[in-house]
């Protein structure tokens, strides 16, 4: 299965940030990006029986504020509770550096926590690295083996 077959799900309520994150991911050329604008859309996308058949996202990029942190955590909780999505990696994107929220995010099963940098160049770099890493992990890729080959 090609990397491109699996979309990246971006859960983000701010249109500007949606746009920018999509641009950043497009630049990295990793995977198609699907968008969910709030908690309901995200849950619909992931769990709705009517959802068009297709592969589950290779990674979920979750902005916590949808518009409140409670909404973000709720999406994370559902992903970890449902059998179908239990193993999908989730990266929390946030402006916060509040240690309580970071800890809670990890406790609920987040795989990584990224504090969005202000500079766009840096953002692009951070996003592509993360997404790439989690896509490869998700596909059972062994980074050590890859390094040996190259």
């Amino acid at each position: 299965m090609s990397v491109r077959d699996h979309p990246i799900l971006l859960v983000e309520d701010d249109p500007c940030q949606q746009e920018l994150t999509r641009i950043a991911l497009d630049e990295s050329g990793l995977a198609p990006v699907d968008l969910a604008g709030d908690r309901a859309e995200a849950i619909d996308y992931l769990f709705c029986k009517d959802r068009p058949p297709g592969p589950l996202p290779v990674v979920v990029l979750l902005d916590l504020h949808l518009p409140t942190a409670a909404d973000g955590f709720e999406v994370l909780r559902r992903i970890r509770r449902e059998k179908s999505t239990r193993h999908v990696p989730v990266v929390i994107l946030s402006s916060t550096e509040d240690p309580e929220k970071i800890e809670r995010g990890y406790a609920l099963g987040a795989n990584s926590f990224v504090r969005k940098p202000v500079g766009f160049d840096k953002y692009v770099e951070v996003l592509s690295r993360l997404a790439w890493y989690w896509i490869r992990i998700n596909q059972g890729w062994d980074p050590a083996g890859e390094r040996e080959k190259t």
Binding site: C16, L20, K116, V118
Partner: protein, 663 residues
């Protein structure tokens, strides 16, 4: 010559008798047989004292006294009224009209002379209302010098050379204040003050004690005795005057001018009896014993007299026409003002029933007229002594009450302070809460600012990359400016967040090796800019307690600044070291970089205060503010010295407050 006495009496015998006695005592006398003669005599020459008979052929003596009091030259002249002893009403009238003394006939010439001499020792009342000060000091030189200074300052003075005399003068003069020497032969100053404090008539008089001693013990002894103030003799008369003025100010409430019986003056006895014979006999005996006697022929008279004149003891006949002894006694004992005066009931008959009657009416003792007069005198002495003890114990009781109320007041003050303290703590808590809220607000605002900023930078970049052809070079330049601005603002927001964290973060102090932290900082700087050649010297070891993360950020900031500002120096030199001052370690970071104008030394720790243009040396202007906050949270201080173009040194301590030093 001791003084000029005007004797006004129509009886030649009286005039001659008194004149001889006064002349023998060294006085000059002027004799007048009538009111007319007296007026004439006063017109031609002044008198120091006037002896005035109440019954004159051409005038009523008391009316003449009123006339004298209305004349400017005799307004303050001492006047002794002479009257037959039965006329108590005259005595009351006379005292009310301004007589200084009242002597009943038949008089003892020597007694009249003694009273006159006593009265003349009072400095004549002057028109101005200067306070009267009694100075008691055994040194003539000091006494005179102080008196002169006091007079110059507008006071009236009376002088005494030793304690016992001083007390007598005090009882007689009722001065407004007393200045007494602490060390005198015989009765010393502290004893004088103590005696004054025990005297109901004088206890309110402010007392200033002079001491020769330089020690604190002298002060304690002085104040212990009840003195209101003390002055060391070496301090000079100005100090005495200043203290005196202050003392009189505090005692300024108008004092009771009622003549209370004083312990130190001659005891005044009021004898009440309808029998002139007995009255006369008793008076004579008592005067010989040194008592002053006022005679009254009836209970009514006695009560009238007691309304204007205070006495030390009352002898009251039980059986009298008119108001009886028992009723008079009951009235006296029923009066708040008079009930404390010892009262001895006299009766002609030794009979238990009348004795019981008298005692039931409130008499303090009971003496039969038939008994030896010595018995009466002994009883009288006992009553006076009892009264004195009572006064003293009342004084002690009052003192104790006063102390108790002072203690109560102190306790109340302490409670008030506690309440205030609590309020203050409450306010501090509120303030702390508000500060925390403000910090939290700043923190979240800083976060919220990041998001739109990312949009600005992001979309500008998209424009530059994807739509480069749509804008010309100038447009691209502007877009780059937008991105640079966003980047700088991002750095500032991050700086604010660090500042906020430095304030909010919980402090975890532990022993630190500042030299190791500094080496770490330097290593990171070298890794970032390996091309820079900077000579760095770090003192080893540097140890102090602090929060590792925060102290490291202090060093990062200070060494980072030094690194930055030495960018154009060849060679660039940075020294991180420690010095000791008053038992405290003072750390410093010194460089040979761009420095700063020395007048900026204070301002540079304020947030967003930048000493150099951003294009010259990049920075957010928050680093030093953060550093200062961290240092303050450790209880330390931070300051800087420098000169534009000649390097800078920043000093800081991590414990104990130190004065901010100038270069």
């Amino acid at each position: 010559m001791k003084g000029r006495i005007l004797i006004v009496d129509d009886s030649l015998t009286v005039r001659m008798d008194l004149s001889a006695a006064f002349r023998d005592a060294g006085f000059e006398t002027v004799l007048c047989a009538s009111a007319a003669e007296a007026r004439k005599a006063l017109d031609s020459s002044e008198a120091d004292l006037i002896l005035l008979d109440v019954l004159l052929p051409d005038a009523d003596g008391v009316e003449l006294l009123s006339e004298f009091r209305g004349r400017s030259d005799t307004e303050h002249t001492q006047v002794i009224l002479l009257s037959s002893e039965s006329e108590v009403k005259d005595r009351i009238r006379g005292l009310e009209r301004g007589a200084n003394e009242y002597v009943g006939k038949p008089y003892e010439a020597s007694y009249v002379v003694a009273r006159a001499a006593e009265l003349l020792r009072r400095v004549p009342e002057t028109a101005e209302n200067g306070a009267r000060i009694l100075v008691i000091d055994d040194s003539l030189t000091y006494r005179e010098a102080l008196s002169e200074a006091l007079c110059d300052a507008g006071y009236r003075t009376s002088l005494a050379a030793e304690g016992a005399d001083g007390l007598r003068r005090a009882a007689d003069l009722r001065p407004d204040a007393i200045i007494v020497d602490g060390v005198m032969p015989g009765m010393d100053g502290t004893v004088v003050v103590r005696r004054i404090r025990l005297d109901p008539g004088l206890q309110a008089t402010p007392c200033l004690l002079l001491t020769a001693s330089e020690s604190a013990a002298g002060e304690i002894v002085a104040l212990d005795s009840g003195a209101d103030a003390y002055v060391r003799k070496g301090e000079g008369t100005e100090v005495v005057l200043a203290r005196l003025a202050a003392m009189l100010r505090t005692a300024a409430q108008p004092r009771e001018r009622v003549r209370l019986g004083s312990l130190m003056g001659p005891k005044r006895i009021l004898a009440v009896d309808d029998s002139p014979t007995y009255l006369h006999a008793v008076t004579e005996q008592l005067r010989e014993e040194g008592y002053e006697v006022i005679q009254s022929r009836s209970g009514e008279e006695a009560l009238d007299l007691l309304a204007v004149e205070m006495v030390d003891c009352i002898l009251l006949d039980l059986l009298m026409p008119g108001l009886s002894g028992t009723d008079t006694c009951r009235r006296i004992k029923g009066s708040q003002m008079l009930r404390n005066i010892p009262l001895i009931m006299l009766t002609a008959v030794e009979e238990p029933r009348s004795m019981i009657e008298g005692m039931n009416a409130g008499a303090d003792d009971y003496v039969a007229k038939s008994a030896d007069v010595n018995v009466l005198i002994a009883r009288l002495r006992a009553q006076l002594r009892r009264k004195q003890f009572e006064d003293e114990s009342r004084r002690v009781r009052e003192e104790i009450l006063k102390r108790e109320s002072e203690i109560r007041a102190a306790r109340e003050r302490a409670e008030e302070r506690a309440v205030l303290l609590e309020e203050l703590e409450e306010k501090n808590r509120t303030l702390e809460m508000l500060n925390e809220e403000l910090e939290a607000f700043a923190h979240s605002v800083s976060h919220d600012l990041r998001q739109p900023l990312r949009s600005m930078d992001g979309f500008s970049r998209v424009l530059l990359m994807e739509y480069a052809q749509a804008v010309d070079e100038k447009g691209r330049h502007y877009l780059r400016r937008v991105r640079a601005g966003a980047k700088r603002m991002g750095e500032m927001i991050d700086g604010l967040l660090v500042l906020s964290r430095a304030t909010r973060q919980y402090l975890r102090p532990a022993p630190l090796r500042l030299d190791l932290l500094a080496q770490g900082v330097v290593q990171r700087l070298r890794d970032e800019e390996p091309e820079r050649e900077v000579e760095i010297e770090i003192d080893v070891p540097m140890e102090e307690r602090g929060d590792e993360q925060l102290v490291e950020s202090v060093l990062e900031n200070l060494i980072g600044n030094a690194w930055k500002f030495t960018g154009d120096r060849r060679p660039a030199r940075i020294r991180v070291g420690v010095g000791f001052e008053s038992g405290r370690q003072i750390f410093f970071v010194e460089d040979n970089g761009a420095g700063f104008p020395s007048e900026e030394a204070e301002k540079m720790f304020a947030p967003f205060h930048r000493l150099h243009a951003a294009d010259e040396f990049p920075g957010t202007g928050i680093g030093l503010a953060t550093t200062q906050r961290i240092v303050h949270r450790h209880g330390g201080s931070i300051w800087a010295t420098g000169q534009l173009g000649h390097g800078a040194t920043v000093y800081f301590t991590l414990s104990g407050k130190t004065e901010r030093r100038e270069k």
